[in-house]
Symmetry: C2
């Protein structure tokens, strides 16, 4: 099985290792808040999309009051509402949690058929290799099956994310052209961002999308950027100050991501 | 006891809360590598002090091959060797781990007598309050007792930090004027930096210093900056790529810090 996956991945370009550390704003992740804060219900928007866009043209996240799933791609930002509707994001909307960057891929690979999310992760693992770095990931392809979710806007007092995701809306798409985008984060940023893969999806016609739950793929192109620069801005708001952010929420995170 | 400590701390200035998030380079921590990498023996210098100084005038860290303890203060950077000697840092030396910033204090407090490190931390806790942020800390004062350590330069293959600190040099100073500098980091950055207080010391005559192990203080002035912006640069070197950074090294860290 492993060999099949390996051969399905054809590396077209290899990484430009030596230029990594000198990269300035390209491939520097700009992150708003922390995943632990989101898990604890810190959903008040901190930074407008107008400001966020100054730090990247690519990324994922959510919206003020947890109003859906965010996808940023080629400078266009989209909001997947819990109704399933996909809207362009207004610059004045704020985000309580997002990670963006100016995406400059350093590795390109062709993907053959991928059966499920596990197999996709194995394929990506074989490209990524050095798991102590961050990676930005983009997969354009023909997807035979995609399952996503989105979350409904919340009102105060906010409940923890694991409570909200119990009421998440789930969407299934078949034979759809689109793009998977997101990140690999190293394990040691547990508490700060999602360790491992965190991927969102948007269709080519920009009418379907969400936080990725399941996937199968006929063929696609993977583009990956290794990230050595990470930047984080912490919210000044009361609810962030008072949240219990120091505990290990790994299990909550696992629940909330699925 | 707690009341005594509280009354010993007189807040002179309060934080300018609303200006925090908009701060650009002032009070943005710039960190090289991660504490887990240092614990695992990733001691090869990544960034020169010439470059490091472009990101701050204040900070702590170490040197290529773990050759001593670093203190940066008012734009001057010092190296406390394991011989006890304190040297100005040459711009061409590299660091494998450091955190610096342009220090703009937002809180100033007068400290009365402080018996020991625990009591100092309690005093600082009463100023810091919101423990979900980073804080840069500077204490100028007359210290009745200071105990520091430094570590000897290592050769390859590098041993983990807990092995090296078994051979650390320990220094004791009495009735010395000097400065304690360092950081408070929130618990959720465990693996990235040192959660809690991490402080170094340097004497006014720049002849004594090191990583702070014990302290008592007659009187002093505390200056504190709350940090909402955090930036990290990961090394591109082989030993960082291959290090096992994903485990919980909290106990090793505790051992190495003492």
């Amino acid at each position: 099985m492993k060999n099949t996956i390996r051969t399905a991945v054809i590396l077209v370009c290899l990484i430009f290792g030596s230029t990594l550390a000198s990269a300035q704003s390209a491939n520097e992740i700009y992150q708003v808040s922390t995943i632990n804060a989101l898990l604890q219900g810190v959903y008040d928007g901190e930074i407008t999309f107008k400001e966020l866009k100054q730090h990247g043209d690519f990324g994922i996240g959510t919206f003020n009051a947890l109003d859906g799933e965010m996808i940023g791609l080629g400078g266009q930002f989209y909001q997947v509402k819990s109704s399933g509707q996909v809207l362009p994001v207004n610059n004045s909307i704020k985000t309580p949690f997002a990670a963006v960057l100016y995406f400059k891929p350093q590795r390109v690979a062709e993907l053959g058929a991928v059966q499920d999310y596990d197999q996709l992760q194995e394929s990506l693992n074989s490209i990524i290799n050095d798991q102590n770095y961050f990676y930005a990931i983009r997969i354009d392809g023909l997807f035979t099956y995609v399952k996503t979710r989105s979350v409904p806007a919340q009102s105060k007092p906010y409940r923890p994310l694991t409570e909200v995701t119990k009421t998440q809306a789930v969407f299934e798409f078949e034979n759809v052209r689109g793009t998977v985008i997101g990140f690999w984060c190293p394990k040691y940023v547990n508490g700060v961002n999602v360790p491992g893969y965190h991927l969102h999806f948007i269709s080519d016609d920009r009418k379907q999308g969400g936080h990725l739950l399941a996937i199968s793929l006929l063929s696609g192109k993977v583009q990956i950027a290794r990230i050595t620069n990470f930047r984080m801005v912490l919210p000044g708001a009361e609810d962030f100050r008072n949240a219990a952010l120091g505990k290990d929420y790994s299990k909550d995170l696992q629940t909330a991501e699925q």
